[in-house]
Amino acid sequence: MESAGGFSLEYAPAPESVAPVRLASQYGLFIGGEMVEPGAGRLAATVNPATGEALAEVGVAEAVDVDRAVVAARAAWEGGWRNLPGAERAKYLYRVARLLQERAREFAVLETMDGGKPIRESRDLDIPLAAAHFFHYAGWADKLDYAFSGRRAAPLGVAAQIIPWNFPLLMAAWKLAPALACGNTVVLKPAPTTPLTALLLAEVLRDAEIPPGVVNIVTGDDATGAALVAHPGVDKVAFTGSTEVGRAIGAEVAGTGKRLTLELGGKAANIVFDDAALDQVTEGIVNGIYFNGGQVCCAGSRLLVQETVADTVVGKLQQRMNTLRVGDPLDKNTDIGAINSQAQLNRIGELVASGVAEGAELYTPPCELPERGFFHPPALFTNVSTAHRIAREEIFGPVLSVLTFRTAEEAVAKANNTPYGLSAGIWTEKGSRILWMADQMQAGVVWANTFNRFDPASPFGGYRESGYGREGGRAGLLPYVELVA
């Protein structure tokens, strides 16, 4: 037998082709079924975070543009969308879903170029799930009369929807699909750093022949969002983003009669008991915190592990982190892509520095980061106390804090010791413990022996400072309807 040494299975670059994407140099606003120039003619560049290069210039909507969009949405609602039979609305939504599937590759590549997430994720998760949401709510559109026993579900009117940059197309789908299925019209505002897939979606909406004005897309900055929220013609505001902005929106709409749902930050606990399937736990932890570079509101950023297996789990985790591939998001073998923006990278860096300064122990695997673009290696903190900033504040980056516990009661106390309450994970082979723990968790989503799994039929939303209202499933219809007798 020959005596060969170890063989390193190096992966040659496997970049996804950018050929399906045809970018324009400038984009306007999608209002009343047309691409129009912003009134003040102001444009802002959107950057590829993996290279730092500008991809295109996108319109910045001012108050006057927002007003045009809301007026168009109102006209479309009163002009027929509100009275369209559910089966007819479903027809449009099914079309959108199918068109998204047909152009999935194009959307996935563009999502990765504009946002920096690995193509593996945009291809296998973001785009298929976005289509799935349209399919799911298309199915509800003609069944609203049976969704809420004994009550009829009437649409609200014009919905203002503001979405974040971490799942640009998917969040657009989460917002648009239920709103449209319930008979509302929409003004959607994408995040400033990731407007491109929403603008490509405008093409799909036109191809699906959705009546003009039913969906309007206004790109822009914080001022655009503020103008939209404050507009008197808006009946409903839905926001996904930071707790800070969510609070400001809550204050703004108070007393106006506008309905509001908020999906805000999180600091989820991922709780590992000593009888769990530790190899799958390791994968689950990695998926919980390094998925989309940790830029996920429901990320499992606090690992609570039972003392007896803490060293084993941390050892397995470090070993696994060494195999994570950080780099070009368009490479099909990349596990962790670029951080969405320089500002976000700075914030992550600042919190990591605070963790080191407060005495926690930092581990990052040996990996070379690309010279250009915004990248952060996967990071793991041990010796973390519940008082540390890294254990309390949402980092929104690939940074995990490890804490230990002895008893299930202690795990519950630590897990709930946060102002947030979006998600939690429980890892144990004991079914009764899963049920008991899930009952104790003050979190909107509790995953058992898995993490970061999404399905359009499953409601998603938070407790406390993570917001209110649910998206997904039947519960996701409620924010967009008035229940009448």
Binding site: M1, E2, S3, A4, G5, G6, F7, S8, L9, E10, Y11, A12, P13, A14, R120, D124, F273, D274, D275, A276, A277, L278, D279, Q280, V281, E283, G284, T308, G315, T323, K332, N333, E429, K430, N449, T450
Partner: protein, 322 residues
Amino acid sequence: MSLLSPILYRVSDLLAAESPTGVADAVAGVRITPVDAVGLEQRAAGLCTRSLKTSSKAAALELAIRVMDLTTLEGADTPERVQALCARARRPDAADWSVPPVAAVCVYPELVPVAAEALAESPVAVASVAGGFPAGLAPWEVRLAEIAWAVAAGADEVDIVLNRSAFLSGRYQKAYDEIAAAKQACGSAHLKVILETGELGAYDQIRRASMLAMVAGADFIKTSTGKIGTSATPPIALCMAEAIRDMAEQTGRAVGLKLAGGIRTAKQAWHYLVIVGETLGPEWLTPERFRLGASSLLNDVLMQRSKLGDGCYQRREDFSVD
């Protein structure tokens, strides 16, 4: 008593307090970690999306040849067929001498002398199935004698089957003792223990059988006989690789992994290389610690290899049928 929860097992928990064959406490004390089927399958599917291009594809194809156990286990096997297989094992592509030899040729015991002669002075090992392959239901003395016979006839490696009848009915000590005795009968020959994963019914059972076989002395653990419908699959390969990783971490002993049954395409082969490489590390990607048991795989690997060279697929007729 252990501080761990009551549902946790160590291999020693499966064995009688006084094991007649005896094994070091430290080894028998290895933990049998539970397996979550959903997570395991998800991770395996994720690993199978790895994209191998250009230079890494070429390296993977070459490695697939170097770790291959070229196998023929048919009732209709003839000395001539085995001789032809051995010739291919030494030089897989007659038209391209840069192709490395495979790791071993795997045959039934009766054909071991033929293979041993044909492979004399070559780097290719002779592997023999033995011990009542494939069901392991012959009387134990007969099975043990068969193992000894194969080694005496020139087998460098012996592939035996786990006694599923004993294992599945909870007679772990019996299953363990058989493997330990087989290991002794092998002498210096390498022992591969086939778990026949398709008959074990659950990933937890595969993990348990893997740990039991490793503690009992297996040099390799192997998925399947190839004689039943379900053979190696990516999640099963991952499950066994994780068991091997646990064994190495807890005892320092490096056990090999052999995947066999239903591996026919080069793409399947490199998925398995990725699973093993990313789970156990590059040290496992050698013929000493990793094997692919297959009969028809070689031709597909050669075809992909030559396609990578000149961009054209050759005809099936250009490759040997044996």
